[in-house]
């Protein structure tokens, strides 16, 4: 029995049942969850156990698929995050307008993604890619936001431009090597100029999906207007498809030596193309973070945070060294975990309160304790504070950048991760701590399925914090398949730590130390508390002799980082979004002009015919 066929069958059954039972909530959701979890279990079980199973699959010498570490890494991410998002949607989408078709298109998206990740030829990759884009576009339309279509359309059109940039490159390659297979790529038939063009057009396709600046203009709208549980998947798993695509096209198909052929810089030990990618990543990490700091809407903040985090991943890809790629893959997982958790938390808060702005919320810690814990763990990971998993990413990434002597870029990236502290802090300060709004006194805790869906990634993050080496063992397999200077600068894994040529990171000891300190201090605190109970309420403050009530706003959360905003005001008005809007307006004006060629006057048409006659006669008779 072929593994791939089985997985395809299981997922297709899930898709079909989402169509068949589209009106029966329990049956539909259960069958989708069953299908996803069976497929997930299947992938995990058969990965690396059986050797006798036929692992490749091809159809009519046109479509090739393969079941290996390369793909399974991302498939596990897709199915895992998808499962959590569907679980969270059970309550989130309940009784909402787009509920029935939400699941159908969600499953379609997952099908497309799994297909593209397993594919080993450009044609089926492209088919999966388009199905994914179409499916996600349709999912966005199922939300209840008024302006959803505007943003969904923007997302789809920009994605389409990216996809066609990819398609164009595919045909250029096919025209030369006469095969769509990734492994058939042969750099010797291309000139230097053609290779450069190819690299650029291919990257544009993927950078758009990963929302790297300056191709990020769709991201904040599409992320924030989707049904939020889907956004968890969108940001947690789907944006990584851009990263996966870059991986497989740049390093799996075209190859490092061909990239070096387009122009190699001795100082940075990398090609100019990759150097550009690194800088794009750095700029995205920096500006994305800045935008996130300045956002007043929780969803938009998380969207820009995703943009920034994808920037980190691109840096690793651009570096193209084992360290860099390991950092990227590690970050793919950690970002997948914490963004899923955060978006589900935000979905739960918006679901319960109906508010989307920071300053409209606050003090929800007593109402939603589980959500608070999930958020806390997530933002510790996001900010890269040891002992949780985010630190390992940063550690690997900075070392990888320093290894390539990109010191200035490293400094900016570090600045960006400080920015990540700033915006991540708002999630705790403005949502859970501070003063609770009067109307939120009776807010119920997050629905059960959402609590499960936000806690599982949190547990994953804690686990990853203690045992990052387990994941790195896995990413090593992945990188081995691509075979980039693996043995030269590999990341070695021991039982409790991982080592590279610069040092080692023993997360287990440090994590254990933190846990011990935490336990000791908790015990100490509780002993102290027993000694003297003295509670201070939120209103026990006497400012200027005035008596404060619940109505008095006590903590400030509106325009939280206003001082940063004020200092950057002149720069902010120049944004890529405005530029693109301007271009599209100009284009529509052009279309209005072109439309007027058809004047509606028969005499004009007769004149056109005469002019055409003259042109044709001149062309053919000369």
């Amino acid at each position: 029995m072929n593994v791939l066929r089985t997985i395809a069958l299981i997922l297709s059954l899930g898709f079909l049942s989402s169509i068949l039972f589209y009106k029966i909530r329990e049956l539909r959701n259960l069958s989708i969850i069953a299908s996803l979890s069976v497929a997930l279990g299947f992938v995990i079980k058969f990965f690396g156990i059986y050797t006798g199973i036929k692992r490749a699959f091809s159809y009519k010498d046109l479509f090739y698929f393969k079941f290996d570490a390369f793909s399974n890494f991302f498939v596990v991410l897709i199915l895992g995050v998808g499962l959590l998002a569907i679980l969270a949607s059970w309550n989130y989408m309940k009784e909402k307008k787009g509920e029935t078709f939400f699941y159908v298109f969600f499953m379609l998206t997952i099908l497309g993604m799994v297909g593209l990740v397993y594919s080993r030829d450009m044609l089926s990759f492209f088919i999966g890619w388009e199905v994914m884009t179409m499916g996600s576009f349709l999912v966005i339309l199922q939300s209840n936001e008024k302006d959803r279509f505007k943003f969904a359309l923007r997302y789809f059109i920009i994605s389409l431009i990216g996809a066609y940039s990819l398609l164009w490159s595919m045909f250029i390659i096919y025209n030369k090597v006469h095969s769509f297979k990734f492994s058939a790529f042969n750099s010797s038939v291309f000139t230097k100029g053609e290779l450069t063009t190819l690299l650029i057009t291919i990257s544009i396709g993927f950078l758009i999906k990963a929302a790297i600046m300056p191709f990020h203009t769709w991201a904040s709208g599409a992320y924030s207007r989707s049904p939020l549980t889907f956004t968890a998947f969108f940001s947690g798993a789907m944006s990584k498809m851009g990263i996966y695509g870059l991986f497989i096209f740049l390093y799996g198909s075209i190859g490092l030596s061909a990239i070096y052929k387009t122009g190699y810089n001795e100082f940075f030990q990398t090609s100019y193309f990759q150097y550009t990618l690194v800088w794009l990543g750095v700029i995205t990490a920096f500006l994305g973070t800045l935008r996130a700091i300045l956002s007043e809407d929780i969803r938009v903040m998380l969207a820009y945070s995703s943009v920034g985090q994808l920037g980190y991943m691109l840096i690793g890809i651009g570096l193209g060294s084992t360290l860099g790629l390991t950092a990227t893959l590690f970050h793919v997982v950690t970002h997948g975990l914490f963004k899923t958790s955060l978006f589900i938390v935000v979905a739960a808060i918006i679901h319960r309160t109906g508010k989307t702005k920071f300053h409209e919320l606050g003090g929800l810690i007593n109402n939603m304790p589980i959500a608070f814990i999930a958020t806390l763990i997530s933002i510790i990971t996001l900010a890269g504070i040891p002992p949780l998993g985010g630190f390992a990413t940063k550690w690997l990434l900075y070392e990888a950048m320093i290894e390539k002597r990109m010191f200035f870029a490293t400094a900016i990236t570090m600045l960006a991760s400080i920015g990540a502290f700033l915006y991540a802090y708002r999630l705790i300060q403005n949502l859970f701590l501070g003063q609770r709004k009067l109307e939120h006194d009776d807010v119920k805790p997050a629905p059960l399925t959402m609590q499960i869906a936000m806690l599982i990634p949190a547990l994953g993050m804690v686990f990853l914090g203690f045992f990052p080496n387990l994941l790195i063992k896995y990413t090593n397999l992945f990188i081995e398949l691509i075979n980039i200077d693996f043995f030269k600068l590999g990341v070695k894994v021991t039982d409790t730590a991982f080592t590279n040529s610069y040092g080692y990171w023993n997360a287990f000891y440090l994590g254990s130390a933190v846990v011990i300190i935490f336990i000791v201090s908790t015990i100490y605190y509780n002993l102290q508390r027993r000694a003297k109970i003295y509670k201070i309420g939120q209103l026990d403050i006497y400012t200027a002799g005035e008596y404060v009530t619940r109505e008095t706003p006590l903590n400030y959360s509106f325009n939280f980082y206003g001082f940063i905003f004020d200092s950057l005001k002149p720069a902010i008005k120049y944004s890529v979004t405005n530029f693109i809007t301007r271009i599209s307006k100009e284009f529509i004006a052009l279309s209005d002009f072109v439309r007027r060629i058809y004047t509606g006057n028969g005499q004009h048409y007769a004149i056109f015919t005469m002019i055409f006659t003259i042109i044709t006669l001149i062309y053919f008779l000369s």
Binding site: M134, L160, Y164, I172
Partner: protein, 495 residues
Amino acid sequence: MVDYAILLIALPLFAAFLIPLVAMVNKNWPKYIPILVTAFNSVLSINLLLYLNAHNGTPFIVKIGGFIPPFGINLFIGYLAIILLMLISFVGLMISLYTINTVKDAESRYYMLFILLLMGVTGLVITGDLFNMFVFLEITSISAYSLTAYKRDGLSLEASMKYILIGSLASVFVLIGIGVIYYSTHTLNIADISNHINTVPKYIKMFSLSMLLIGLAIEAELFPVNGWVPDVYQASPTPVTTIFSSIVVKATIYVFFRVLFTVFRADLTVMNFVMGLGVITLLIGEISALKQVNIKRMLAYSSIGQVGLIVIAISSYSSMGVAGGIYQMINHAIFKGILFLGTAYMITSVSGTGKISDLKGIAQKMPISSFIVSFSIIALLGVPPLTGFWAKMMILSSVMSSGHQIIVALILFATVVEAVYYLKFIAVIYDSSEITNSFKSTIKFNKIVPIVLFALTIILFSVVPQFLVKFQDVLLKAANELTNVSSYISIVLGS
């Protein structure tokens, strides 16, 4: 023998002239005659397909009146002709079904003109004689002029007037071209002309080529001589518009390339010129559609754009490209069938003048038609794995392999533009706000059925890959029939 193939033309002609007599007996009967005729033609073309399959797919000729080809008129039937015949009769059947109760106060002459139009188009795709082709072109055009003016309001009369003006120019050009060629080769049989075309002085050949190219470009809706198209499409009754977009223009494109490929044995300079025309037509059509507010006009511009795409594909001259062009012809006929009929069905249910904004939120009231229309739009945009994607793949790969990378980029660009206005249209019909327009709830079975059948065809072409692979062979054979001149001559004239 397959001499009965002549019935494809003869029966509709007979039926068309029978209609006034039938109308005298009963006023309601004429509207069923188009259904019978198109159904008969469908069966006949399937029969011919089976015959062709049984004979290794070698095209055959039908000698009319028993005269041997250079002296008499012959029909040339291969896979290409049969694909087009099936398209004509299938789409014709769907439209005839739709037409019942659609055209207000439809008189018998409406159905008569309708059948004559179909007959003219059928003749165009199977005839092997150049002058006969002109005759069929005239039959098609004249019935098209009259059908355009059928509503007899200001808009349709004006459109028809423009159509006659430009159409008669086309006839003149075609006639001059044919005259010149007849003068220098003394024959009208396409195969025979092709045999002697190299003996004709180059100037005369190029002059008559230019004349025919201009005349047929007008009929095939190529820029800059397609000014009549938006007006005519907008003003005609919808079933007629659908026929124009789905069938008539396909047949004229076929004629256009049959004349260029077979009669003139066109070389690369001619084909590059035609490809340039195709690219401009595609871009202008799609860009003009972007800001349209009237649905039919938007679809008309989109139609122009698609014609450009088909012409680019066929003028790439490679067998894959021509096959892709033929595939796109089929796809486009089906998609535009759904779009024109589906939107017209929606428009009749609301009050308004056929603006896109009139259909705001219509999906809440008409979920099935809205879904099918959106589905066909998605298929038209070439979202894999639907059928539009495969056609586009064939076209792009062949254009790319003929070395026109920029043209591939332009085609993709045009598709993006197409996506913008079509998705905006979907946005309007799926708008979830309250419907302000008054809505007449009328579920008409005969209008839903054609749309659903069209949608099933899309699914059939899309999801049955086994079928697709066989289908690709057929397409390649059909492409070969169009491009391979020597086999055409040997089949018609004997070796």
